[in-house]
Each structure stands twice: as structure tokens, then as C-alpha cells.
Symmetry: C2
Subunit: 236 residues, 2 copies
């Protein structure tokens, strides 16, 4: 689900309902990114509670892309910090969009460390962090033409031994179908509605972001499950 | 806590940290109103779970003011709708601020009913709703000079027999001290940090909105309690 930089994507139901949410329902980008980022953080606390982490320090590495998925990663990192995790952010290409910049500043001002480069030695990542959060490329990304630095990061992510949690779509996967030779996340957090590539996902799969008006769910035949109680996420 | 329309308020620590949040930390209004409104809805589900409501229909009346407190009420109503409550909104004076208008449209498009006037017969309110949410006047309001329609609404709220839940500051109260002859909410939801008037509040008191950076909490000596687990609210 993307609201910024949805260049040249095939029009699908998915894109149409995003447009409808923004235009007709007047949901705002800042508002939605906050909802999704918070929901991702909560999903991570469910999948990897503080008490379950292998390392003494509750470190997590959050890799943020240049567009909306990256901003969701920034919000997720900020909430994880409030939940007593120790996020570190790698955000190699920053957006010129003031909305994204604001989310970056919020993390910087909260003293969440930003890496200036990703260690080329994968073992250093395995040793330093409990999990990696992949908030790089969203559904709008053209997976047939992934450029640096993301292509290089994906090579590293295919080698890491610690669990990967992907936000919405595993980076490098086509949004329409699961990847055979891409990264292999242990957890996938689908935002608002699962994408086609998630259908046969065999890891832990969460749906997160409980705000979609019933009329939109019905109109686009999303058949979303009922969220339990007041939870903003559900394990599928 | 107010971010819009903070005209001529006495400068307090409270206002200074709001300014710092917006200017230095680059938090946005849309983002914060969403966080607060969602947290208010969660507080209401804690104080008045669906199963505890006296009436067959889980109806709640949300009275929204013209400024930020009103927008928080709108977001709260929207989330309550997602939690299977049946909110009805009374929003007599709408803001010309596009941010507030967007939050209004989100509720309208979700088919949440808006009242065009408040019944003058208080018994009708008692009969129709389980609780009233007071999201009228925030900390910035001048309680010595409350104009219509709010002065009239306050007269009604002093007579209703169903519980009132106030958002941040009970409408009509001075933010600095508890009111002796104002409305008497059963629940108060303090946003981010309790205001002075909440110190001796004898009803159920929640603190909601878990996002405040530690450095600000420390700088302004807020001494906030620790939120349990991943909760975004705590009963004080």
C-alpha cells in the first residue's frame, strides 16, 4: 500500500482503494504512516517479545527505504524505542519529501542511532542485532530493476542468520507473487490488506492497521478477518 | 495540550513542551491528533467495555468542539466505530482548518451520524446514549468567557445522568484548577501529561498518548508513570 511515489504501477484494486481513502475519505499520509508504523511495532512485540530475545540487549536493526515503506519503518522504530527495544536505523537514501524528513527528525531527536553504512561482513549484523526489520521497498517498487544501495542490501539480507521481519511486501519480491530466490523473512506484516504475494507465505503473518472503513472493505471485497477486541493487528 | 489556536494562553511548561514537540521534534498535528484520538478510544473501551454498557445498543454521544479537542473527539469516534461501538457526533461549530475538516469527512464517510442540534430535553440524552464524551473545550479555552453553543451544552451536561468522559480537560474547567460548579465527569483522559486541574480529580483518571520522547519528559520534569507493556494508556 503506497500513497507517495506510486509511479507507473499497474492499476489494481489495491491502488484504487488507496486513492479512494485519500481522496474521498480524506485520510492523510502522516496519519496513515503513524497508524501503520505503530501497528508494525506492536506486531514485532508480539512476534519477538523483549523476554524472548536471544541477545542481552534488545537491539533491532531497521532498514528504511526512500519512500513510504521507509517512513513506516521510522515510525515503527520510534514506537519500538517507547516499548524499551533498542532500534538502530539504516536509512541510506533520504527522501526530499518534508513528511518523510519529519519522521526522520523525530527518530534522530530521540537519539535512535543511524548507521552511515551497513557492515559488509554479515556476521557483524548477526552479532549485533536480534532481528532485522525490512522497511525498504513497498508494493510500488519495481522489483525487476532494483538499484544500489538496495540491491546490495538485499544480497546481505539473503545471508543474515537472524530473523527478518518484512513490512507489507518483502523487499525485492514482486507484489503479485511470492519470490523463489528473494529474501526469506520469518515474519511478514501485511498493512491493511494482504498483497497477492503473501497468499502462500509460510512464515508468521500478521495483518496490521485497523482503520479501513467497512464500505471500502466491502466495495473491494477484501474479506478481512475480524480483529480481536481492540487489537490493531491479527495473526493470520 | 493544544497545537492549534493557542491564542493568548499563559505560557506554561505545558505550552513550551508542545512547541518544542512541533518545532524541534517535528511532530505533526495530524499525527498527534490521530495518536490521541486512538488512545482516547482505547481508554473508553477500558472504562466502559461493550459488555458493561447499560443499554442494548452500544451508543455513545461524542460532543466535539471547534478546535483540536474536537478533532481528537472525531478520531476517537472513528476508532470507537471500529471497536463496534455506535458513536453519534454533535459538532456544532466546524473549523475552517483543513486538518479538522479532513477528520470530519472521515467520520461522515464512515456513516457515523452527526446531530444537527442537541436535544434540549436532557432525558432524551439519558435515554439514547450510554455515555457522553466531552471533546469540546481544551486547555487553551478561556473558561471565564464561554460562548454559545458551548455554554448551553455545558448547562445540559451538568444535568445528564449518564456518565461523562472528558478529553484532556473537562470543558468549562480552568486548566489550572479543578472546578467546583462545572461539569462532573466520571472519567478524565489526560493527554500526554495531566494538567494542573486534574491533580485532585476523584473519578477514574487515565493518562493516554504514549509517544513523548524521554528527553522532553526529563527536561520538563513531567514524572510520567511507566506505561505497562505495549499499552498506550495507563489508569492513574
Amino acid at each position: 500500500m503506497t500513497l507517495i511515489n506510486n509511479q507507473d504501477t499497474t492499476p489494481t484494486n489495491h491502488m484504487s482503494f488507496c486513492t479512494e481513502l485519500m481522496k474521498d475519505y480524506r485520510f492523510g499520509q502522516q496519519q496513515l504512516i503513524e497508524i501503520w508504523g505503530q501497528a508494525c511495532a506492536l506486531a514485532i512485540t508480539k512476534a519477538y517479545p523483549l523476554s524472548s530475545l536471544a541477545k542481552k540487549q534488545p537491539t533491532v536493526l531497521v532498514i528504511c527505504g526512500p519512500d513510504q515503506n521507509g517512513s513506516i519503518g521510522l515510525v515503527c522504530a520510534r514506537h519500538l524505542r517507547m516499548f524499551e527495544y533498542e532500534p538502530t536505523i539504516y536509512h541510506p537514501k533520504r527522501s526530499s519529501h518534508s513528511l518523510h524528513q519529519d519522521f526522520t527528525v523525530q527518530c534522530e531527536k530521540m537519539d535512535i542511532p543511524f548507521l552511515s553504512y551497513l557492515p559488509t561482513e554479515v556476521q557483524l549484523i548477526n552479532d549485533a542485532y536480534n532481528v532485522v526489520i525490512d522497511a525498504m521497498l513497498g508494493p510500488e517498487a519495481d522489483c525487476s530493476n532494483i538499484k544500489e544501495p538496495y540491491s546490495g542490501i538485499l544480497v546481505s539480507l539473503k545471508q543474515v542468520k537472524i530473523p527478518i521481519i518484512s513490512v507489507d511486501v518483502p523487499s525485492g519480491w514482486d507484489v503479485e507473487e511470492p519470490s523463489q530466490d528473494g529474501i526469506n523473512p520469518e515474519v511478514l506484516i501485511s498493512l491493511t490488506a494482504p498483497k497477492k504475494c503473501a497468499v502462500s507465505f509460510s512464515g508468521k503473518h500478521f495483518l496490521a492497521g485497523r482503520f479501513l472503513p467497512y464500505d471500502i472493505q466491502k466495495k473491494y471485497e477484501l474479506n478481512l478477518p475480524d480483529y480481536p477486541g481492540t487489537d490493531c493487528l491479527i495473526e493470520l
